[in-house]
Symmetry: C2
Subunit: 195 residues, 2 copies
């Protein structure tokens, strides 16, 4: 019996997640009900509760998994001893990772306001941990005399906002390839830190 | 009779606008009903319709007025013939204007998806017109040999995203004053365009 429940949850889980993500991105978390998510998946509302205790958990898990994937994928990149190479790697990685996940990125920013306090604290800690990696690169470059950055924390915030902004305008069908966009942004990032 | 209606709408209008803005920012446009807005203002739902034909108009007017104020305030700044001075002026203006209106900025980004097509087109045109002003400064600086910018359109997108990002982390009570933050961002902006 327990086994049947598990395997059913395993099959339906990713579909529930995908449906919730699309509905949250389109209408916003507060406007979407568990009933609507169930209807989108084609199951009874009750079936959702085999997968998740409530809508808040669904949102939190979505944001946590997005940030966990971000941190893990970034951590798996080759080590760059040279700060300039590390900054270029971060720049190109950030643009590509976020561009491929625009719904998750939109939700991760827009729905922070709908996280319960304890959940917000955990999500913020993950986000800070990602920002700290860029800050570490900037500090390394500053110590090596390669970068001229008066405040590495603010510079990390500024660069991440600039790079995530690609999501708001980039279209695959536009005049530029993503790789060309990366080149242009990398040129600005490098210069902005005096590199 | 018409006069009475008008004067009542004039008194209540700003309060309706303020209540709607706060509710949209907190819960999202799709999750907020006209009835909730009326309750927040302390009037009957019917009274809202003296002021606005529907919720979509309320959202559109809010975004249009935000962008109109942005364009007008920017246009009223002193002329800067020198491209470097013009870029610094834009940088400091953008940070201050947006930081003082975080709810409007949040709504203007997040609720684009909820604008009907004709409304979206008008809002996008206003936004493009603002971006074009920064692009014009960058082109002027490039023509004068002061800036090294391979793509002025992308550079304008990148800089605006970077500067608006201050809203996501800046707090009046934090370690830095807004004017110090402006200095740090201006240093990065100037360098990023090779200035």
């Amino acid at each position: 019996m327990a086994r049947k429940k598990n395997s059913s949850a395993e099959v339906t889980g990713p579909r529930i997640r995908a449906a919730a993500q699309e509905l949250f991105a389109r209408h916003g978390y507060a406007a979407v009900s568990m009933r609507q998510i169930a209807a989108e998946v084609g199951v009874q509302a009750g079936a959702l509760y085999l997968y998740t205790p409530d809508k808040q958990s669904l949102l939190f898990d979505m944001m946590r998994d997005h940030l966990a994937e971000l941190l893990d994928t970034h951590a798996a990149l080759p080590e760059c001893a040279d700060p300039m190479a590390a900054l270029e790697q971060f720049t190109r990685f950030h643009i590509r990772f976020h561009n491929a996940r625009s719904d998750s990125v939109f939700i991760a920013y827009m729905e922070l306001r709908n996280l319960e306090r304890a959940n917000f604290t955990r999500i913020e800690a993950m986000r800070r941990s990602y920002e700290a990696r860029l800050q570490e690169v900037l500090e390394r470059g500053r110590a090596a005399g390669v970068f001229d950055v008066p405040d590495t924390k603010l510079a990390a915030f500024a660069l991440i906002a600039m790079l995530t902004g690609v999501n708001t305008w980039f279209r695959e069908t536009g005049r530029l390839s993503l790789s060309h966009v990366e080149d242009i942004y990398w040129d600005m990032v490098r210069k902005s830190v005096g590199g």
